[in-house]
Structures are given as structure tokens and as C-alpha cells.
């Protein structure tokens, strides 16, 4: 007897045994389970359709688009080149420089932004009269859009009407046209603009630490510095971890401030990946290359998230 036959026999025996004992009032467990699974998929279907149409299909389609080289003149047919275009684009100096720029931008914005947000949150965590005013001020940039922030700083950096010339500082070339200073300047705008969110995140994290733990540490002999480094920071690590993850992802999605302030220049020194994708698509009209860049951007962001989660999670203390 083959195993398949054996299995069938077993199955039959079991079902007949059930029937033999008593009339089953409900369908057997496996059938009920199947039915529940079916229902689950049915209920998931609407969102699956929406995801499929707006996310999965465009994503796959974009990946596929990367196999076609866009012709140099419009009107000519696209040419299938397989992975050649992926290889060419991903090894190009432009791409590697852009990745370098984006990573540099992330390094400039994330740690400094978190440190500042945390610093302000610690200051505003005091039980003082009128501290609410400061909390409002510190969190106000949440209500400011990237465009507004860019315009404000664009004006401040302006070599003619800006704040710096008014203060008597007038670097040549102007900051936003200076290959050395353009990226830090855009990073500064970004830090300022995200400061409200970081502040709110850090404040809520601080408020979640019970006062008694700080008091216990005070009685146990810890000064302000020890309490900050040995108690506050470890207990805040879930919040900091979260801020690092979203900060990193934000950095790789930066577009508005680059477009409004530097357009990727000078000398492509602020040509971050998202802006590079945009330029390739809109200025160069190179759909195929843009598709490859978009896939690269996705892969980097995804990897970043996974790596951050894997590495940071171990050092993160979660609750009690």
C-alpha cells in the first residue's frame, strides 16, 4: 500500500469514526478552518486590490521598466537590455556620488537633530511656571512645511537681503552656491524643520519615565549627569531608536528643500538620491535610468530599516 493510499484510509477512518460516534452538529474542524481562511482572504481582498493597483503593480512595473533603455530621442522605441542598464547605472560615478551625498546628509541631520530635540525636551521637562510656552515654541516647526522652512532659510541665506549680510558675514560664493557649504546648509534647514517632531517624540519619551526612578537615582547618589546617561538615555532608547529609523528614512526621502534651495547643485554636491531620480525622469526624460535609480533607492531604504532594526533592537530597552 502506498503512502497516499494509507493517508486516504486514515482520513476515511477518522471521519467515519466521528460520524459513528454522533451526528456532527458542526462541520469538522479542518473544513471550518478552511472556511475561516476563505473569509479572511475575502475580507482582505479590498485592501489587497488597492495595494495591488497602487503599490505592487507600479513597483513591479518600475522594476521591469529598468530592463529597457530609453532612446536618446523621443519617438524611437525602447530597447530591451536586461540587467545591463542596472549594472551601468548602479556603477556610475553619478549614482555613487549621489549615494555618498545622501549618506552624508543623513549623518549631518539625524544625530544632530536627535541631540537637539532631546536637549530641548530635557530643558522643557522641568516643572516650571510658563514652561508650556516653551513647549509650544519648541514643537512649532511641526506645523511648518518643508516649503515654508526652505523659503525662510533661503531668505536668511540670501546674499543680498539675507540675515548673514545684515550681520556683516557675506561669504563668497554665497552659502547655497558654495560646494563645501551647500549640503550643511540644507541639512541645517532639515534639522530645524524636523526639530518640532523630534522634540515631541523625545518629550513623550521623557514623560513615560516614572518620576520615582529619577528620585530613586537621586537618593542612590547619582548626580544630574549620571542620571542622564545611566537612567534617562537607556530608558529613552526605544524613542531614540524610533527617531533614528524615521530620521534615516526621512533623509533618504529628502526632496523639497533640495529642489527649493539648491536644485542638486552646486557641482551636484546636494544631489541626493530622491532628487537624482527626479532629475533623471523630468530633466533627462530617461525613464529607464530613473526606474533603476528608484529600485536602488527602495533597496537602500529597505536595507537601512532592516539593518537598523536588527542592530539597534538589541541595545534597546523596551518597557518593564
Amino acid at each position: 500500500m502506498s503512502t497516499i493510499d494509507g493517508g486516504a484510509t486514515l482520513g476515511e477512518t477518522r471521519s467515519s469514526a466521528v460520524v459513528g460516534v454522533e451526528e456532527p452538529k458542526r462541520p469538522p474542524r479542518s473544513r471550518r478552518r478552511m472556511r475561516e481562511i476563505g473569509l479572511a482572504y475575502l475580507l482582505l481582498l479590498p485592501s489587497l486590490v488597492i495595494f495591488g493597483v497602487f503599490i505592487f503593480y507600479p513597483f513591479l512595473r518600475n522594476f521591469y521598466l529598468g530592463f529597457y533603455r530609453t532612446p536618446p530621442f523621443p519617438g524611437l522605441p525602447m530597447r530591451y537590455v536586461g540587467f545591463d542598464q542596472y549594472r551601468d547605472v548602479l556603477t556610475s560615478t553619478d549614482f555613487l556620488d549621489s549615494v555618498k551625498t545622501t549618506v552624508l546628509f543623513m549623518i549631518m541631520t539625524v544625530p544632530a537633530g536627535i541631540a537637539l530635540g532631546l536637549g530641548l525636551a530635557v530643558l522643557a521637562h522641568q516643572r516650571l511656571k510658563g514652561i508650556g510656552v516653551y513647549r509650544t515654541i519648541f514643537s512649532s516647526t511641526v506645523a511648518t512645511s518643508v516649503a515654508v522652512a526652505s523659503v525662510i532659510f533661503g531668505t536668511l541665506f540670501n546674499p543680498v537681503v539675507g540675515l548673514l549680510p545684515w550681520l556683516g558675514v557675506n561669504p563668497r560664493p554665497p552659502i547655497l552656491d558654495n560646494p563645501q557649504w551647500a549640503l550643511p546648509a540644507v541639512a541645517l534647514v532639515t534639522i530645524w524643520q524636523t526639530l518640532g517632531l523630534t522634540f515631541i517624540l523625545m518629550s513623550s519619551g521623557l514623560q513615560a519615565i516614572p518620576d520615582e526612578i529619577h528620585e530613586a537615582a537621586r537618593v542612590d547618589g547619582a548626580g544630574a549627569g549620571t542620571r542622564f546617561w545611566k537612567i534617562t538615555i537607556p530608558l529613552l532608547s526605544p524613542t531614540i531608536f524610533f527617531a533614528v529609523v524615521i530620521g534615516g528614512i526621512f533623509a533618504f526621502q529628502t526632496f523639497g528643500q533640495i529642489d527649493l534651495l539648491t536644485q542638486g547643485g552646486p557641482l551636484k554636491k546636494t544631489n541626493v538620491l530622491t532628487y537624482f531620480v527626479y532629475r533623471t525622469l523630468r530633466t533627462e526624460n530617461n525613464d529607464g535610468k530613473a526606474a533603476v535609480l528608484a529600485v536602488a533607492l527602495f533597496t537602500i531604504t529597505m536595507t537601512l530599516t532592516l539593518v537598523q532594526m536588527r542592530f539597534l533592537e538589541r541595545r534597546v530597552h523596551y518597557g518593564r
Binding site: 530613586a216 537621586r218 537618593v219 542612590d220 547619582a222 545611566k230
Partner: protein
Amino acid sequence: MGRVVLDHVTKKFDEVVAVDDLSLEIEDREFLVLLGPSGCGKSTALRVIAGLEDPTSGTVTIGDRVVNDVEPKDRDIAMVFQSYALYPHMSVRKNIEFPLRTRHVEPADRQIAVNEAAVALGLVGLLNRKPAQLSGGQRQRVALARAIVRRPAVFLMDEPLSNLDAQLRIQTRAELIELQRNLQTTVVYVTHDQVEAMTMGHRIAIMNDGVLQQVGPPQSVYERPANLFVARFIGNPPMNTMEGRVVDREGVRAVEFEGGCLPLDPAHAAAAEASGAKSLVVGVRPEHLAFSDDGALHAVITVVESLGHERHLICRLTDGQMIIVRQGSDVPRPAEGTAVRLAADPMHLHVFDAVTERRIDPR
């Protein structure tokens, strides 16, 4: 050493007076319990001793120095919090070690001290666990170990047993008493639980509305409450209190109230009259009431509560006022609805001025 003196300490939060002119001397190696209902200022008083709150006025002395301007860490105290306040990201070992680390004790000495504390509190097998992996009772022990590891002059404990279940609380209560005896350290212990206060304290300090009501050994506070608040707060079931006037009943001085009358001891009656109090409150503890054929109080038993080792008879006087009688379980259980006469031993009556609420002692 571990002597703590509070001298006219007042603590206000804006307009709210949490502690009102508190003067209290806690002797070296004494176990003093600060007892009172929630919001009475006992925790604030403890936090003032710890240095976590600054007194609005008055001085705090620990040992032989005034510590008003001394940081908590320099007061030679340790504190156990109601929530235990363990450091959740540190192992049990690190938690216990923390007060030593902050004081830069040598690693080898730290190791010895932590091990001693762990042995004393039965935590040896748990040193590498995190607080989240411990039961409530174990966390409480870690909090205690962290307090004793540095051998401070004074322990401050803020309701340390209130998060434990009933059985564990009784066990830990006894262990705390032993611990204090072994360590020979001053303990200031805050609780709202009178059983803890009665069983643990060398002396009890009872507070209400920020004001110290009475300080004394548990038994003397129970037997001679200084005022009506203490009389009603200490004792379970609480003392029966009736408000009335002194009258002459067939040549015997008695306190007459709406539901009946209780004869007074002559010395007590004289003191009550001499005090000039217009109205009196007479108090009698449930165990000092007994059935008697010629008892002066007429009552009806409405509810019989059996606790196993004793009974509480909830009775109503003729005016409907409730009066509780404590009875051993070795006598037959009376039926509910029975009409009874109750007598009180005049030697165990407590008399208070109804206006000042102060105790009036027999002359």
C-alpha cells in the same frame, strides 16, 4: 548616627499645606511609623526627610547636622518606594550595585556588598535577571537590597508593602522587622495600614490633614488615643463613639446620648465636668462591650460577621446609631434580630471634648 529631627517643618504646595508645623524626633535605631489616611501629608514628610522636597519652613536634622541644604545623595539615607522604582534596564545585580557605583566604591568591595545584600534578602539566584522577570515580592526584595547595600544611617520606606498580596505582605512584614533588628538602623516607615503600624513600629506618629495628631508606642496609642481622630482611625473594627452630655442617673454620673446612656467612672466624670466641655464624645472599643442583663444600652443585633476566630456584631441603638461589639467565637452565635442589653466597663471608656476633640483623662 541615624537620629532624625523635624523641627517645625511646614511644606506648602502653592496654597495647599501638605505638612503643617511638624515637629518630631526619631531616635537612632528606632522604627518609626508615619501613619495616616491618604493625603494626610505623611509621604510628603518622608520626602522632606529624603530631600526630594524642600520644606517651606522649619529644619530637618539627620545625625548631628541640619540637612535642609544637603542633596538627597549626601544625607546618608536610602529609600524604598511604593512602586519600588527599580531601574528596568539594569539586572538585579546592577540595581543593587547602583548606589555603590555612584559613590565610586571599588569593584571588589562592591561585589562583596552586593553578595551580602543578596544573601540577606534571598536574591542570590536572581542576580542576573531584569526586574521585568521578577514577581512583585522579588522586586520588593531588590528594592530593599538596593537600600541596605550601602548601610545608610536611615531607611525611608514609602508604603513598601502596599503592592504585595495579603499573604506576602504578612510574611514580608515580619522579615522587615527582623531586617531592621539585624541592621540596627533607623527606619521611617510610611503607611496607611494600621496593622502594619501596630505590628512594626516602635512608635507610631499619626498624621491627619498635615498635622501630627499623636506619637507613641502602638499599644499606648491604642489604649489612650489623644483625640477623636486617632480614636476612630486606630482599631479594627473602629471604636464606637457617641456624642452626649454628663447627667446624674440615680446618683451615678453618666454620659447620656440619644440612643442611651453609659455610666462614667467618678474620676472621669469629675474630669469631664472640670474641663468645661459643653458636649462630650464617649468612646468604647468593640471588645469592651458585653451583653449584660442590666446593661444601660438597648440594642438590636442587625448583622453578625463571623471572622472565624471572632465575631463582629453590628447592632443598632434605639435611635438607629450603629454600634459594633466584638465577641469571641467560643460563645454561641446570637441570632440576627435579637434584642440585647449592652454594658461597657467604665474603666475602658474614652471621653473626648466634642468641640476640641481632645481626650479627657480621669483625674
